[in-house]
Amino acid sequence: MKLKTKSVILGFAAASLLATAATAQQRVLKYNADYDPIPLKAMEELIADFEAANPDIDVQLTNFDHEGYKTAIRNFLTADAPDLANWYAGNRMAPFVNAGQFMDVSDVWEDNGLKDSLGSALASMTIDGKQWGIPYTYYQWGIYYNRDAYEAAGVELPGDDGVSWDQFVENCEKFKAAGIDCLTTGTKALWPGAGIFDYMNLRTNGYEFHMDLTAGKVEWTDDRVKATFAEWAKIQPYITANHAAIDWQDAAALLVQGKAAHYVMGNFAVGVFKQGGMTDENLGFMVFPEITAGIPRAEEAPTDTIHIPAGASNVDDAKKFLAFLASAEAQTKWNAAQGQLPINKNANVNEDDPFLVAGFEMLSTAEGGIAQFFDRDAPAEMAKVGMEGFQQFMVQPDQLDNILERLEKARQRIYK
């Protein structure tokens, strides 16, 4: 390091000597991320805090387009590795962990007591008994509903504990009679349908079974899987008919306009509902109804994470940054700006946002476990085949046997 500084100083003119010396004292920490504008601003503020506390570190954030990042990360991890990179928890990080592209950061977890404070995400960050990154945010999934649609169809509003499954199905008939789609979704991009499947399966068979299924340990033709689809078939006729041709935002419009009553979605959709004119008055949130009685309630909360690539050059400072990002203060600040939930159990959520409060309450009492989402729990190829199957089931429920056979064939090929 000192040698380098010397040659730099020698190499440059005297006029730039002061400036060069100043930057040379700072150690550069390169960070590649894929933030949208609001979270980007929040992260930049966090970085400013971090730099203020560590004046000798200069964090250089390179922000990518969200979709482009998924391709770019495969190139830059091998070709030009930064010191920090955004990614996702669960099986989504497995290809990089298995290819030796992410660094083991178990020591950061040990040294900072994160196994306790970030306990809810420990399982989804662990592969082979080691931790491979730091989770900093997640958001809940659940059922968002339009109270005005309930009124229009003359259906009694769900209570604080939501409704029972039988009641939900019964309500669906009433919505149908009133010409309202009981459940809406837009599966053009496939993933919204997986949210419905995840909840159907978590409620019918529980967390352990769902994890075994996404990990390829259970056959898709298993009777328990068929039981899940049998329950799903009960509400299938009440799902928006042309969901395969519309995006999730189009379906959100249906909910806003009162043409649909419920929407199984992630909390990020609240912003879209409110832009469409809904308020805390007519937008409701409830936990997905219990189907099989007595199963510990599991929830869905996709987690975003930061990792150290194996090719990182400034590992010490990268670990320092991870520890900072794991702290309650940093997570409170970032998630307040983004409207999501912090992982750190000592962090605070915005008490004025009923959806965040409900989500925090729901997740912190989910004794069954927290799933990541189908396309993060299952390997990418299986996710694709599976989500196509779910979409087809919602259009052609009579094709169920074909669909399950196809998924089973894919399972045998993918999990070797």
Binding site: E67, K70, T71, R74, L77, T78, P95, F96, N98, A99, Q101, T187, K188, A189, L190, A241, N242, H243, A244, A245, I246, D250, L254, D375, A380, E381, A383, K384, E388, G389, Q391, Q392, V395, Q396, R406, R413
Partner: protein, 311 residues
Amino acid sequence: MSGSATAVMPVVSAPRTSYWKRNQRKLAPWLFLAPGLLMFLIYVIWPIGNSIWLSFFDWDGLGEKTWLGLDNYAELMDDENFYISLKNNVIWLVLFMLAVPAGLFIAIFLNQTVTGIRIYKSLFFFPFVISQVVVGLIFSWFYAPNFGLLFKLIEWVTGTGIAFLADPDYVTYALVAAGLWPQIAYCMILYLTGLNNISPDQIEAARLDNASGWRMLWYVIIPQLRPATFIAIVVTVIGALRSFDIVSIMTDGGPFGSSRVLSFYMYEQALSEYGYRMGYGAAIAVVLFLIMMIFITGFIWKMVNDERSGG
């Protein structure tokens, strides 16, 4: 042919001239071709060989490649999605051919001297000028459930709207219809230029022989449009086989993969978010390449033949 005689001359008169001087005539064409050939080798031949080689491996783009031999192809033969894509490619090929007669019809219709005909011609040509992505977007709004024009129209007439892009039975036809719009314009412009070159004497002669209407079209006009027809068929076949952008923009291969074509399936397997099976994608690419080769060889064979008989 007379060139070789003059090239030999200096060799006889001055036996010590350089190699370059002696072979100038033979080497010059290769030198002129060299930049093009080099590019062709690097950017066409080498990638083709490379993807054929890749199709024998299992590779996720990151880790180690594992040799599979012909396993990728064996899996392809047993892959339902592959056959759906293949079937859709055939639908595209067959229905896309409608662009040729439709283009001819519009060209003949527009080939008249009325005030403002240039404006009509440009309006008809317009869809070819805009990007395929925009065409895809326009048509997906046209078909869109709840607010699409066609959806509303069908709803108004029959009582229930049809969401073409959500229906596995209709979706490919709906996509071909979108693809045909710019393709017809393309064929039309080819025929319009062809019609300009039709010899008036022959039409005059046919008139004197009492030909008119369909007989005139079939026996006098169309034979003279043969070069335009040939090009129109070539561009339409190629357009049908590389129908990637419309599929990607309008349906992303959905619903549940029923509107995939081979080129899109290859992209999905090799490069999309849930893909990264480079070897399998390469195997699909090889199959698509072989299908294209059938047509390309046919076209080249015909062109060479025409040149021989013509020259």
